[in-house]
């Protein structure tokens, strides 16, 4: 028997209720929700929201292969500080997550760190090369439910069709990084007036939208389920909205940075703003926010992409794309005021847990009997990022010097606090 823990006086947000009360946890489970509960340990949650822990569908944890940028342990700690209790690990590792051995390794490293559930995704194609299918059935048997070549889109339409057909037989979901590569050669930033001034090759919206359109139509003929990663353009949102209206089994995510930052930031010549897909226009941001509110976009996912300092000290064209996200996601989303608190919990916990098919463990209502994977956050607290205090091994966050609103106070993973009062417990 572990000691009992009571989270005192928070606003407990569930699908059908929102009440102020206490949550009592024993042996990794919520045992009681009510008033004036007592336990051996207590955590104050007054003024805070108590919800199921966040689930990130899109984290680059860099291990194996690029431990200089991040390890599964440091990424897990960054996740815990961001209120996450589960992270889907993207497969563009070295070696990539296209074999059972690597999948098992990633999952084991996640367990060893013990700060969140690390859920490895698998590659769609061998080595993410876009040429032949990865052993999806083997990977599915090893527990993989989400497949993606993220970092690359699957360019070959025939191969993508086969992948969807095969995935349907396995009952797994494919997640696409939508980018028609021929249209983005050498691209550094969104194709816009700003890239005209800077003389940088543009990454046009159409390069994303063409693949969104193609894959929607492939889903229509295969019936397989499909998730769109990091949507960034107005027209992509419209395409997904129409596809959902047609009843297709499609879900989509948007990142905090595509909801908050615009292309003009590249005029600072700071590669911290280089990301793929690129930062876009205000009109795109508004369309993404509309998509969050009307349910076109199901999840907010970080695309947490750590890079070592020296890589981001290269020129704009040479620096790798990507920015940190796990520790700042909530603060960015709440500062943007894009939707209600309940919607934020849906977008960051309930929906992504379902898409990753870990909703038996994560993203459930905070009720007696539920797994105690919880997040307690202060939705009003304003703060700014101190790069020296990030848990991530890298510091490539674009939010230094910006005021964020909403901060995680406590994170409970399997009944044990991983974060108390904003401090990682180990």
């Amino acid at each position: 028997m572990s000691k009992s823990l009571v989270i005192k006086g928070g606003t407990i947000v569930n699908r059908d209720s929102q009440v102020i009360g206490d949550v009592k946890i024993e042996n990794g489970r919520v045992v009681e929700v009510g008033k004036n509960l007592k336990g051996e340990n207590q955590l104050d949650a007054s003024g805070c929201i108590v919800s199921s822990g966040f689930v990130d569908l899109h984290a680059h944890l860099r291990e194996p292969g690029k431990e200089e940028a991040e390890t599964i342990e440091t990424g897990s700690r960054a996740g815990a500080l961001g209120g996450y209790t589960a992270l889907v690990a993207m497969p563009n590792t070295d070696p990539p997550q296209d074999s059972v051995a690597v999948i098992d390794f990633v999952r084991e490293q996640g367990k060893r760190a013990g700060l969140v559930d690390v859920v490895p995704s698998g590659c769609i194609t061998l080595g993410r090369q876009g040429e032949s299918l990865a052993p999806m059935a083997e990977l599915a048997t090893a527990g993989v439910t989400l497949f993606t070549d993220d970092g690359n889109g699957v360019q070959d339409a025939a191969l993508m069709r086969r992948a969807l057909e095969y995935a349907k037989g396995l009952g797994v979901t494919l997640a696409q990084h939508c980018e028609v590569a021929e249209l983005t050669k050498g691209a550094v930033m969104n194709e816009c007036s700003c890239c005209t001034d800077l003389g940088l090759p543009g990454w046009p919206s159409i390069a994303e939208e063409l693949m969104v359109f193609r894959d929607i139509e492939l889903v229509r003929i295969t019936g397989a389920s499909m998730h769109f990663l990091h949507l960034s353009t107005e027209r992509s949102v419209e395409l997904v909205r129409a596809a959902k209206r047609d009843g297709l089994p499609i879900t989509a995510e948007a990142t905090p940075h595509h909801l908050s930052l615009t292309q003009e930031l590249l005029a600072s010549y700071n590669p911290v703003y280089k990301v793929n897909p690129p930062l876009r226009s205000n009109a795109d941001i508004q369309a993404l926010k509309d998509g969050l509110r009307d349910g076109t976009i199901d999840a907010i996912a970080t695309d947490h992409a750590p890079h070592p300092r020296r890589d981001k000290e290269m020129s704009l064209d040479m620096a790798p794309p990507g920015m940190l996200g796990l520790e700042t996601a909530l603060g960015v989303v709440l500062a943007e005021d894009a939707c209600e608190i309940r919607d934020v919990v849906a977008l960051m916990s309930w929906n992504p847990a379902k898409i990753a098919r870990i909703d038996d463990e994560h993203g459930g209502d905070v009720i007696a009997g539920a797994n105690a994977n919880l997040c307690v956050f202060d939705p009003q607290l304003t703060w700014s990022v101190d790069p020296e205090r990030l848990a991530s091994k890298s510091i490539n966050t674009p939010y230094i010097g910006r005021t964020l609103r909403g901060r995680v106070r406590h994170t409970i993973f399997k009944g044990t606090p991983t974060v108390i009062d904003g401090q990682a417990q180990r």
């Binding site: 550094v188 194709e191 816009c192 007036s193 890239c195 005209t196 001034d197 800077l198 003389g199 940088l200 543009g202 046009p204 600072s268 010549y269 700071n270 020296r310 000290e313 290269m314 020129s315 704009l316 064209d317 040479m318």
Partner: protein, 311 residues
């Protein structure tokens, strides 16, 4: 003024100021001993990550005529090849005691990034397809010298060719329009940036339609790799549409000026020998390069002391 990185940052006053200072430098260059002690004890480092003949040589000549010490960083013999250790390179040279870096790099933004890593002045000698401010100064000075115009109001300048990939075009569009000229860009849509609607220019896709009305015809170099990238089908076709041919020379106004930043692609954008054109300023562009760069170095590193002494 600490750096010269773009014409935009310079502004119209800074631009006019430098053009006037260039007159002084041109006078020095006419002397039997074209050398003054103005920058004695100052050190200028050339940091060229891309090939250059005239820009590098004219900067080094300019520095020497002002009695500055120079050092040249040769990328082909250095450890830098992908830009990874750019910060270390800059910091190392800074430690040797450098007052200004003259930087050319294939990547946009490098002159701004370098400013984080050194206290020295930065002069942009070309960053990717972005800016090449001293070339624009040279071109403005050359037009001014030829026309005796203090500003370019009422002047019509056509810039012809690969605008999309041209830092010379981006700097010159800013400089020419700041001085009051009206600028028309002439190129096929594939060689224009995706959106120029916010630039103070007009656009034409037909050289024959504009050539008779321009005061300055500014030809850009077309690199042969643009063909492989599908920007133009063949060099021959480009040359026929946008090259300067004998017929097009005939169509020019009698006092129209022809310019080219070099190096020229003879047989592509220049189907004739420039010496066949009465008002070609191509050689003046090269000659003025030294005076303009002397003015820039003196503006950034000089203490305002006299330019008259003997070195």
């Amino acid at each position: 003024m600490k750096h010269l990185r773009s014409i935009d940052e310079l502004g119209v006053d800074g631009l006019v100021d430098l053009l006037q200072l260039t007159d002084h430098m041109a006078e020095i260059n006419q002397r039997p001993v074209p050398k003054v002690p103005a920058l004695r004890g100052r050190t200028v480092a050339s940091l060229f990550f891309e090939d250059s003949t005239r820009t590098r040589l004219s900067f080094e000549t300019a520095a020497k005529r002002l009695s500055a010490d120079t050092m040249t960083f040769n990328v082909s013999t250095s450890s830098v090849n992908k830009g990874e250790s750019l910060r270390d390179t800059v910091a190392t040279i800074t430690d040797m005691g450098v007052d200004a870096f003259v930087v050319r790099h294939k990547s946009v933004g490098i002159p701004w990034q370098i400013c984080q890593w050194t206290k020295a002045s930065i002069i942009n000698a070309g960053d990717g397809a972005h800016q090449h401010p001293t070339q624009a100064l040279v071109d403005c000075y050359t037009i001014r010298e030829a026309t005796h115009a203090q500003n370019f109001a009422g002047m019509k300048i056509a810039i012809v060719g690969d605008i999309k990939h041209s830092r010379v075009a981006r700097s010159n569009i800013q400089a020419f329009t700041l001085l009051g000229a009206s600028v028309v860009l002439v190129a096929p849509p594939t060689l224009l940036p995706p959106d120029v609607s916010h630039w103070p220019v007009t656009v034409s896709h037909r050289l024959n339609e504009v050539i008779g009305g321009v005061d300055v015809l500014y030809m850009l170099r077309l690199q042969s790799e643009r063909m492989a990238q599908g920007h133009v089908p063949t060099l021959r076709e480009y040359s026929e549409q946008y090259g300067l041919t004998q017929q097009r020379v005939q169509a020019l106004k009698s006092d129209a000026i022809v310019m080219h930043p070099g190096p020229m692609n003879r047989g592509v954008e220049m189907q004739i020998d420039p010496s066949d054109v009465k008002n070609s300023l191509i050689h003046r562009q090269v000659a003025n390069g030294v005076s303009v760069r002397m003015a820039v170095l003196f503006k950034l590193l000089g203490s305002g002391s006299n330019l008259g002494g003997q070195a």
